[in-house]
């Protein structure tokens, strides 16, 4: 039997939690969780409000919009502070009836 070999180096290097970056990432995670909770609570309404093709953007814990273009999305993201910008969630809305086979 042939050995399975990764084609890309994928060694895992755990990072020290005392690294200051760890607290920044935790803050983003907390803000992102608020955005996700908001999305999951309003998922059906948001999917109806922003039909595809577009990207649904959830930000500031309780705000949502549908962006058709990348530039439009970046323009909005640039108005947010660093943590909220990193924590803003993108959900892709394909055209109606599209089927994914990834």
């Amino acid at each position: 039997m042939t050995d399975i070999v990764d084609r890309i180096p994928a060694e895992i290097e755990p990072v020290d939690p005392s690294d200051p970056e760890y607290e920044v990432l935790k803050a983003i995670s907390v803000a992102g969780k608020r955005n996700l909770d908001f999305y999951l609570e309003h998922e059906k309404d948001l999917n109806e409000q922003f039909p595809g093709p577009c990207t649904i953007l959830i930000f500031n814990g309780s705000e949502a919009t549908g962006c058709v273009s990348f530039d439009e999305m970046m323009e909005l993201l640039d108005t947010l502070d660093d943590v909220e910008r990193s924590a803003a969630l993108q959900f892709e809305q394909p055209e109606t009836g599209a089927v994914w086979v990834l």
Partner: protein, 156 residues
């Protein structure tokens, strides 16, 4: 000792065909860091994907925040990925930090090389970024539709 990292299902609510059963898609939130850029992404869990792939908009967001861009990569860096049928896309390999939050809000953070899809390769992808087996292999993946549950467990 084990740590659990909860995921979620995203309903897509559109019936493609009256005879097809619509099934929610398993997701997990992960923060990807690259240089000065940090981005929280609801990855699609894809056990059929060899590698983790940032879709072009996500890659472009992260590269822009980090002060880099895909076109600056040398052509030799490109790696082609293949999907269903004849579809293929250009990617580059970049080492990133991946930050998972457990059920208590504490993080698990490690660095790994993943694929960035080329934002300049054409029409937008209306699909999520994909968490492939290169990352999933670190976890005990539990996926249940009845009852609905998505959990990555780190056994140490």
């Amino acid at each position: 000792m084990s740590r659990q990292f909860p995921g979620f299902f995203r309903d897509f609510g559109v019936t493609s065909h009256s005879q097809l059963v619509v099934t929610a898609r398993p997701r997990v939130d992960v923060i990807v860091s690259f240089g000065r850029g940090r981005l929280q992404l609801p990855f699609l869990i894809d056990t059929g994907a060899d590698f983790t792939v940032l879709q072009p908009d996500h890659a472009a967001r992260l590269l822009r925040d980090s002060g880099q861009s895909v076109p600056e990569a040398r052509r030799a860096d490109y790696l082609t990925i293949n999907g269903i049928g004849s579809s293929s896309e250009r990617t580059i390999v970049r080492r990133v930090g991946l930050f998972f939050s457990d059920e208590d809000g504490e993080g698990y953070w490690f660095s790994q090389s993943i694929l960035f899809a080329d934002a300049a390769s054409g029409r937008p992808w209306r699909v999520p970024s994909i968490l492939g087996r290169d990352v999933l292999r670190r976890f005990d993946l539990n996926l249940s539709y009845d009852p609905p549950s998505v959990t990555l467990t780190l056994n140490k």
